[in-house]
């Protein structure tokens, strides 16, 4: 096995053409001292039948649970057509469309994707994707430093209500270039970022303010006030958004008087399976004035030698293969196939399907929180509107309760203890349009049982 098609006769003829007696001779330039024998640590080959059995057994072991976890990755319905078409070999096994004439399918699809994302975020231009939402925030921060020519400080203000994994990734990726991420304290009563926490930055040089909507708790920030605060101080507003929410919530391009400057997020809710965390894709949109500071690939429509329309990669002078050490980013391969799926998904959903998905997810989450809050010792942690996630308070540590729930086939949410100990025992829950009234009642009944057991223990 190795999917090698050569017959012994082929090999003999090829060696004769090359003028050597064995394949081994082709490796003669490699110092003999470096050559290895058999690869210890790699098992013997499996044929496809054996492999199928192994993988099916492993998948079965993982099983299927009823999932109420969100926190940056969301279970949504994915139409069968999305992956049936996206995994066609012509999309699946093509590479980056460097040869434009032989890649018009991928290129046109990316142009359509860019249009959809620009419209969804109410911004002017989009790139062709980044790795994921968290790394996209890192890229947006670096881009803000390049784009904000009035600022020299490289200081990025990040509210604590931004997903903690995003904050960590941004620091890990962008921190090496001298960017300073300064965290704004959490208002433990509202679960939001108040402009009053920004007052101590008055008169200081700030490069950008990050605004996540909905924030990590599902809460809705006062995006207009935050955006205007940033602009009044010559800082850029960097939005982090959930694309499904934008069918219902005000898009970043309309935030405040001038709109956000750079918008990023994770595209996973647009037809991408949860898959333990990836592959997803990061999206980025911005205003036209900042396009030359944008990282990643961009597709443009142009004309061919006969004047007919066609598509090609453009503004490549920003990228590593041209600009090398002075490129906007080192990104090369992005998440093309995920974008292919998302573009098909967005076509099937349209504005109305996406809006219904957003509204249904919002409703299911409110129903879930209402149901859980009927239990003794369970209450909603923050008041005020949420999108499709919310925080509930409990009277005892969340970890053991989640284990009890998991044993009943329910993934109850994300324990906030590690990242937000100041909230006390708190659980972030999510219900999307995939959840039924029965699912919610099963969760409520199971939590009731688990709480009783915990009290008895």
């Amino acid at each position: 096995m190795a999917f090698v098609p050569h017959t012994p006769e082929d090999v003999a003829a090829m060696l004769e053409t090359i003028g050597v007696e064995s394949i081994e001779r082709l490796f003669e330039e490699i110092p003999a001292t470096l050559r290895i024998g058999a690869l210890e640590g790699v098992p013997e080959a499996l044929n496809e039948m054996q492999l199928a059995r192994l993988m099916s057994e492993r998948a079965r072991r993982d099983g299927r649970q009823s999932c109420f976890i969100g926190a940056g990755a969301y279970e949504h319905h994915i139409p069968s057509a999305v992956w049936a078409v996206a995994t066609r070999g012509e999309f699946y096994s093509a590479y980056t469309p460097y040869q434009a004439e032989a890649s018009q399918g991928t290129l046109q699809l990316l142009y359509e994707y860019q249009t959809m994302m620009a419209n969804l975020t109410a911004m002017e231009v989009s790139n062709a994707s980044l790795y994921d939402g968290a790394s996209a925030l890192a890229e947006a921060s670096l881009m803000a430093v390049r784009a904000n020519r009035r600022s020299r400080s490289q200081r990025i203000l990040v509210p604590s209500t931004v997903h903690p994994h995003y904050r960590r990734a941004a620091r890990a990726i962008a921190g090496n270039q001298g960017l300073r991420f300064e965290e704004l304290p959490l208002a433990t009563d509202s679960g939001c970022t108040g402009t009053e926490t920004l007052s101590r930055y008055e008169g200081e040089d700030i490069t950008a303010l990050v605004i996540q909507q909905p924030n990590v708790f599902g809460r809705l920030e006062d995006v207009d006030a935050l955006t205007d605060w940033a602009h009044a101080r010559h800082a850029l507003a960097v939005a982090v958004v959930n694309p499904v929410s934008l069918a219902l919530l005000k898009p970043p391009g309309n935030w405040g008087a001038k709109g956000a400057d750079i918008v990023v997020g994770d595209g996973q809710p647009l037809g991408i399976p949860l898959s333990s965390g990836g592959p997803y894709f990061g999206f980025m949109t911005t205003r036209l004035e900042h396009i030359r500071q944008m990282p990643g690939r961009i597709v443009g429509r142009t004309v061919d030698a006969d004047g007919r329309p066609g598509f090609t990669l453009t503004l490549q002078a920003r990228e590593q293969h041209i600009r090398r050490a002075r490129a906007t980013s080192n990104i090369c391969t992005n998440q093309g196939l995920m974008v292919t799926a998302a573009t098909i998904h967005l076509s099937l959903m349209g504005a109305e399907g996406l809006r219904r998905t957003a509204v249904a997810s919002h409703s299911r989450t409110r129903e879930l929180v209402a149901a859980l809050s009927t239990l003794p010792g369970v209450r909603r942690r923050f008041s005020g509107p949420v999108f499709h996630e919310d925080v509930i308070s409990l009277e005892r540590p969340v970890g053991p309760l989640l284990e009890r729930l998991a044993a009943r086939g329910i993934l109850g949410g994300w324990d906030l203890q590690e990242h937000y100990p100041q909230l006390g025992p708190a659980l972030l829950v999510c219900a999307t349009e995939t959840k039924t009234a029965d699912d919610i009642e099963r969760y409520r009944a199971a939590l009731d049982q688990c709480l009783r057991e915990a009290r008895a223990a």
């Binding site: 190795a2 999917f3 090698v4 090829m14 090359i18 394949i23 330039e29 050559r35 690869l39 790699v42 098992p43 492999l51 492993r58 993982d62 999932c67 940056g72 057509a81 460097y98 004439e101 032989a102 890649s103 018009q104 399918g105 991928t106 046109q108 142009y111 359509e112 959809m116 419209n119 231009v125 062709a128 790795y131 994994h165 960590r168 990734a169 890990a172 990726i173 270039q177 809705l220 898959s275 965390g277 597709v299 429509r301 061919d304 453009t314 590593q320 293969h321 490129a327 980013s329 080192n330 090369c332 391969t333 998440q335 098909i344 967005l346 076509s347 349209g350 109305e352 219904r356 509204v359």
Partner: protein, 495 residues
């Protein structure tokens, strides 16, 4: 490529749109009344986004037609140098997409993911075995992120030792653009070293450039010139002797798989492009995956999360377990679905299959090189063995016939052959970097050689036919200057 479609350009999806139409079977039922009435008006969207309003069949047909405008491995020989466009076995896709794998949430407990974690743990072990490294993280989401992780670890290592001055990364002149771009992202300064006429690193120049500021060197081997760096042991001695570390860019690992290991050559850090060597799909530009392996002294700095094993249980190790980690490069755990595909591929190859990959990739490259040089093409490094890829320079043809490497590339499309990589590495004029991979048959290589020969003949007799190619694609050559000057990056409705 469907020839029939070639002259029937496909409309944009937006141009199929009819208000009121949609794939309604896919949508949740409409809510009774305003189910979002609790949201303040000031936070709500006023106008719906402009998205297509199309039926399911229209969507399927449109995107199927678009797919037919692409060249792909499944439809065409695709000898794109440095990209390892080998066959992507269908089993890898099918069994990575089992419903349980797809439905698993990234924050689900480890207890509800022992199946996938066992696959990932074994993948880590196999990748360590083929690279000769002691520890490994699967989290980088592409080769460039693997490079970032590697160089960030090199910096963290020096810093942890109080060696704060080391901020120079050495790259050979012919390095892939991501190498210098990565060094910049890690806050380092790039120092380039030349290669000699035979394609090896210039040892005298390297000796002159290393010093107390050297953080490390980034190399591929075989190099981007398609030849094995014969003095790699000397390079390792010089860089280590100066206190620097060696970074192996796994772009060209396919050439030596099962034959030589980067760890044995003296490399301290390695990233592997799973979408190249381990045949996960390129997907029209990703997703990739760039696991990064290290020697023991760099293990504490690995990016998190890493899959660990406690007794018989598999678990994710995080910042708590690796406090010196360079941190988190993604929201969750990297491109798990890609990792599963690579795992399946590696299990199907097994240990003997790994060595066959290196052998037949090298056989195919050397055979195609021999065929082309006999047909009148010039190897950039005659006298050298090819690794899994090689460079043809068309400098002579450009001068004598007035046809460039780009013209050859475009005319190849008319022959149903995807073009090799053009104009990379930049230091070889008018070059084609050709990588056939081990999964192509002798017949496929013969067809490519025949196409190249036919174009060479045509270039002598009817050069305009070559310089104006392609002639059979959905579009002719595109106006790139116009694309960059008159930016048209999104469709807007005619008002």
């Amino acid at each position: 490529m469907n020839a029939e479609r070639a002259n029937h350009p496909e409309k944009l999806i937006f141009e199929y749109s009819v208000p009121g139409r949609g794939a309604e079977d896919q949508w949740p039922a409409p809510a009774d009344g305003d189910a979002a009435a609790d949201l303040p008006e000031s936070l709500r969207r006023a106008q719906p986004p402009l998205l297509p309003a199309v039926s399911e069949l229209e969507t399927v047909r449109h995107f199927t037609r678009l797919s037919q405008l692409n060249f792909s491995i499944d439809t065409n020989f695709y000898p794109l140098g440095s990209c390892t466009m080998k066959y992507n076995p269908k089993a890898c896709n099918q069994y990575a997409m089992l419903p349980e794998f797809l439905a698993r949430h990234p924050l689900a407990p480890d207890s509800a993911g022992q199946g996938v974690l066992e696959c990932l743990y074994e993948l880590q072990e196999m990748l360590k075995a083929v690279t000769g490294m002691q520890a490994l993280s699967l989290s980088p989401m592409a080769g460039a992120q693997g490079e970032f992780a590697g160089v960030a670890m090199i910096r963290a290592y020096h810093r942890a030792r109080g060696d704060l001055e080391r901020n120079e990364i050495i790259v050979p002149q012919a390095a892939h653009g991501t190498n210098p771009a990565t060094a910049t992202m890690c806050g380092c300064v790039v120092r380039e070293v030349p290669v000699d006429a035979e394609g090896d690193v210039d040892i005298a120049a390297l000796t002159a450039v290393v010093g107390p500021k050297t953080a490390g060197i980034m190399l591929t081997n075989p190099s981007t010139l398609g030849v094995f760096e014969r003095r790699i042991e000397a390079v390792a001695r010089i860089v280590h002797g100066a206190g620097g570390l060696l970074y192996y860019d796994g772009a060209n690992l396919n050439a030596i798989l099962g034959k030589v290991r980067p760890g044995d050559m003296g490399f301290d850090v390695v990233h592997v492009n799973l979408h190249k060597t381990f045949s996960t799909p390129h997907g029209g530009g990703g997703p990739g995956s760039g696991p990064v392996g290290v020697a023991a002294r760099l293990a504490p700095f690995l990016p998190v999360p890493v899959v660990g094993r406690r007794g018989e249980r598999y678990c994710w190790l995080t910042e708590r377990d690796l406090p010196q980690s360079i941190g988190r490069l993604s929201a969750f755990c990297g491109n798990i679905g890609v990792l599963l595909r690579a795992y399946i591929y590696m299990r199907m190859l097994g240990r003997d299959g790994m060595a066959r990959v290196g052998e037949f990739a090298t056989l195919n490259a050397n055979y195609l090189l021999a065929r082309l040089t006999r047909s009148g093409f010039d190897a950039a490094y005659p006298g050298r063995r090819a690794g899994h890829e090689f460079i043809i320079t068309l400098k002579r043809q450009a001068r004598e016939l007035g046809v460039s490497a780009m013209d050859f590339a475009k005319r190849l499309l008319d022959h149903g052959q995807h073009a090799p990589t053009t104009y990379f590495p930049l230091l070889v004029p008018e070059c084609l970097l050709i990588e056939p991979t081990e999964t192509e048959s002798k017949a496929a290589l013969d067809d490519f050689a025949a196409a190249m020969t036919a174009i060479l003949t045509e270039a002598a007799q009817e050069p305009e036919r070559v310089t104006s190619a392609p002639h059979t694609m959905p579009v002719r050559r595109l106006d790139d200057v116009r694309a960059a000057k008159q930016l048209d990056l999104t469709w807007k409705p005619v008002t």
